[in-house]
Subunit: 420 residues, 2 copies
Amino acid sequence: MAMVKKPVTGMKDILPEEMQIRDYLIGLIKETYRSFGFTPMETPCVESIENLSSKQGGENEKLIFRILKRGEKLNLETATCAEDLVDSGLRYDLTVPLARYYANNTAKLPSPFKALQIGSVFRADRPQKGRFRQFTQCDIDILGEPSELAEIELILATTTCLGRIGFKGFVIRINDRRILKAMSAYSGFNEADFEEVCIILDKMDKIGLDGVKAELLEAGYAEDSVNKYLSLFEAGEGENRLAVIGKILVEAGVLEQEVLDRLQTIMKVVGESSTTEFNLTFDPTLVRGMGYYTGTIYEIGVEGFPGAVGGGGRYDEMVGRFAGQKTCAVGFSIGFERIITILMDEGFKVPEEGGKKAIVLDKDLPAERYAEVFQKAAALRAEGKTVLILTKNKNFKFQKEQLTAQGYEDIEVVYKDEWK
Amino acid sequence: MAMVKKPVTGMKDILPEEMQIRDYLIGLIKETYRSFGFTPMETPCVESIENLSSKQGGENEKLIFRILKRGEKLNLETATCAEDLVDSGLRYDLTVPLARYYANNTAKLPSPFKALQIGSVFRADRPQKGRFRQFTQCDIDILGEPSELAEIELILATTTCLGRIGFKGFVIRINDRRILKAMSAYSGFNEADFEEVCIILDKMDKIGLDGVKAELLEAGYAEDSVNKYLSLFEAGEGENRLAVIGKILVEAGVLEQEVLDRLQTIMKVVGESSTTEFNLTFDPTLVRGMGYYTGTIYEIGVEGFPGAVGGGGRYDEMVGRFAGQKTCAVGFSIGFERIITILMDEGFKVPEEGGKKAIVLDKDLPAERYAEVFQKAAALRAEGKTVLILTKNKNFKFQKEQLTAQGYEDIEVVYKDEWK
């Protein structure tokens, strides 16, 4: 068979320049969350097909890379559908594996368990610009902490991390699934319609209040309910918005005061404790797609860059489906690939430490002189310098240009009789 | 479908304790090779099935995890064998992907290309203790450097790295495929028998000279040839061995003087330039399995631990099969999982920087006091300390033990009215 030079469809080779930025970002993330007491963890890239098809992954389950059974288990003759040939697949996110991992290892893990996962996930998505079938996710989760301490820690750790990356002026929007539910109930929508109403509400930033109104009416909802619903989004202003909307919902008996208090505490404590400058606002239109959220939800945006660079929330039910007992969970997913794209687009350079030096050996240099070169290089490396040793090319001018482009501005040539 | 708590057969969850050691080791490897001018790179975990089945991977090709085609391409009705259902698979090593990557990106890569790859590889091996179906490989390669500078750099960088990990008294055995071939030719074996003779020779450390002799005779080789062959392994002693054996082969016209000179230069320069203490010896019985080696080969062992912790060699043909033109290549693969096992068995502790502190919040602490706690934590974290904030459990004695086990010896409790 002929060799294929290209990566498989939809996946990519990572060139050294991008790789250096990725390594730098991973280092920074690990270091920041470590200082908040998070511990790294890892699960295999391959998961049982049962877990991947458990309806926890929503649309992503359609995008699973399925792995063929092996040996005697693979029975092509009697297989009637693809599922008969498959027993595992590549993970499409890090959340399902985290829930499995926690259930499998609870006794060996600290409580609460503060986990940091950075790993590849795989989705057989339609290939499109900037979207790949293998990409890195970065998830931070606190399992087993029922109180709002979990949300506060996650938001503070993540904003500290974004600040260290160099982002300025980012915005965190926050909401609670229970407020979304209460708004829906307050307006007279049926509980069964909650998801659909939210899907339409989620378009607010694109189609505006009038657009949402039109879509809700078109979907057949009563005009009274729609008007009551939309009036909520005009209630209150700025910092007052949460208090005003919350009061309406609590007084109508559709929201517990505790939900409101907790969200207010989170916002207040984060505001008073942050070492990084950013904007934290209550946004009653924030929905977030994944159906497994049960409480607080949040999303980070960076000024000047469309789309979110992170988001997450509380999902108190999902881990329990594996563990067999209720397990509180709050997570934050950092948009690792989105941040890499931003840094690459901005021409970000990884801070160099110690400097770089190239030692170029002339073709005629006798082998007896090599040790002298390597000894000198060793001494410089011990001081933290990067030292590249290579053979002099015929076209030395071109070689020098190449070296300079790689950041080697200090170039020394070792000739038979001299260094220069 | 029911959820499955366990990882898929043969794969493993990595617990925080091991993960910290892995992260530490990866950091140390990246830092060391960076200082030698190596750049990180990455390829997808998934490769075209053509590349994986190209006979470059030897026995490993039987162990491929094959991925089902998707959508319309998957035609179950007309499939007559598993191959009809498959267009890609999980990579079983990092060498085939490196060759493809280099061929695909040559114009964008520096020359020579000094690459560091750390990544997961997958083999559907029979599950057994300490051997997993997903594991990390760590490969360092220099592509495009024909001279022995490549071997010298790789050995020096790798020994520097092992020294920094803390290994003492390790041994590097070195040989050259062309010496193995010359010994075979010198003894009168047919060229076609070279591989089989080497497979038997490779057992020398287990079955000794007499065992090798018995097996060669049993395989039907002429006694004269066998005796001549084995006499070579008794020629010379210690530092003289290479010179003595080399002289015999060169004088017999089966080895070029240049091969001998190069190997002697490598050994001499490495010996004189190393900053780490280790033993470098010529070992004419060293074979190394992979058929793609064309020149120098080497292997590292650590005193007190059976098996190799690394190895590699020159493979000047393989990359060319992808690139379409001859490309010199020398590689070193560090036995990442082997080193992790050794460190875990030795009870290795990752050096802590900055110290660890736990702040435990009493149940009755009012939310108004949270900001004070998070502010104090932020100040300590800014000094490099790891600060864990958590809620006080009913069984505080047990909680304290747990924290101490995690390395939190400095534990402070925040009560409603005091810190203590």
